[in-house]
């Protein structure tokens, strides 16, 4: 086991453990200085982004929507967290020169070719299904997978099992053995 990978990255054990420390520090800091414990998560922000985009077009519709009312369409702590992920990844990849403009993921290209249009259609369809599922389940691999597991939530164990169970099954069907 090495602490650095060949391309200048860090061992996933090290980077992961540091995320564990970040989650603890963040839970402490948000409780102390914002008055409410916040846990790492990402998928609720997509609901708020959808609400913010819909509001100028159909203000009454968003106003009356039960789900948008429940979720509260505003730029909150998690919304900035998600924007921060972009900036942090940009900074890290710029520093170690792993930043790379990529139009097609290599694994996808080996199986389905280099058509950007085809990749776009499937990524959008996959994204729709995944987000409907994440909001139904109440979280994603961050909210359930990291934060829920750290709190020993029953829902997190079941959700994470379903995420990977369905993921393994569908990945085998979609990418088959030809991707190896």
């Amino acid at each position: 086991m090495k602490w650095k990978t060949e391309d200048g990255g860090w061992s996933p054990y090290l980077a992961g453990a540091l995320v564990g420390l970040l989650a603890i520090a963040s839970a402490y800091a948000t409780t102390q200085w914002l008055g409410k414990t916040s846990y790492l998560g990402a998928s609720t922000t997509f609901v708020r982004a959808a609400g913010l985009l819909e509001r100028p077009m159909a203000p009454d519709h968003v106003e009356q929507s039960e789900y948008f009312t429940k979720t509260k369409v505003r730029v909150d702590w998690q919304f900035l967290l998600v924007l921060g992920i972009f900036l942090g990844a940009l900074a890290a990849s710029a520093v170690d020169r792993s930043f790379k403009l990529e139009a097609i993921p290599p694994t996808w290209a080996r199986r389905f070719g280099r058509s950007v249009g085809k990749r776009a259609v499937w990524a959008i369809l996959g994204g729709i299904v995944a987000m409907v599922g994440a909001r139904m389940a109440g979280g994603c691999p961050s909210g359930h997978g990291l934060s829920g597991m750290m709190q020993l939530s029953v829902s997190a164990f079941v959700a994470l099992g379903m995420f990977f169970g369905a993921g393994v099954l569908v990945a085998a069907l979609v990418y088959g053995r030809r991707s190896s």
Partner: protein
């Protein structure tokens, strides 16, 4: 920018930095995990969970922070979790990593982001329907494993550590 937003931004930058250094933002890593060929994602997530669960439990025991379990709503978690997994395999990103992948230049992740914003809008429209159907089956409420099993968290955590460490040794032996 409010203090709340500033805290979120700083936490997010650190989170994104670590996700990128751990090399878990890539489509190939995520699909590689689901094809059981590349264990990077498992190593990363489980390491975060091992460290996080000790600190979070200690702070919650000391009543410094409050736990916030998500509801164990049977239909929601089973059906929603299954849909998420299926979409995740095709898309190759989860919500947090899609944004991070954009940051490291993998601009095709923008399609995944567009899909997920659409998915969120669709879920908001279908929410009243789901409330009467999938979400209405059975709700066990916001429960933690220690209460559900009647076992102390200070037994569950060492057992979880032991199983996970065995898994890590196996990953390293297999070189995956």
């Amino acid at each position: 920018m409010s203090r709340e937003q500033l805290f979120g931004l700083v936490t997010g930058v650190l989170f994104g930095f670590l996700l990128q250094k751990g090399r878990v933002l890539r489509f190939d890593k995520q699909v590689g995990a689901m094809l059981l060929k590349d264990m990077t994602i498992f190593k990363f997530m489980l390491s975060a969970i091992l460290v996080g669960m000790v600190g979070i439990t200690l702070l919650a025991d000391a009543e410094v922070i409050t736990l916030s379990h998500k509801s164990m709503n049977l239909g929601a978690v089973l059906v929603g979790g299954g849909l998420f997994g299926a979409g995740w395999a095709v898309m190759g990103f989860c919500p947090g990593t899609s944004i991070g992948a954009l940051g490291e230049g993998r601009w095709h992740a923008a399609f995944a982001v567009v899909g997920m914003v659409l998915g969120a809008a669709i879920y908001a429209e279908l929410y009243p329907f789901f409330q009467k159907t999938v979400l209405a089956w059975k709700d066990f409420g916001k429960i933690g494993l220690p209460d559900a099993l009647g076992i102390s968290r200070w037994i569950i955590i060492p057992v979880f550590w032991a199983i996970t460490l065995l898994l890590f040794f196996w990953f390293e032996k297999k070189q995956v």
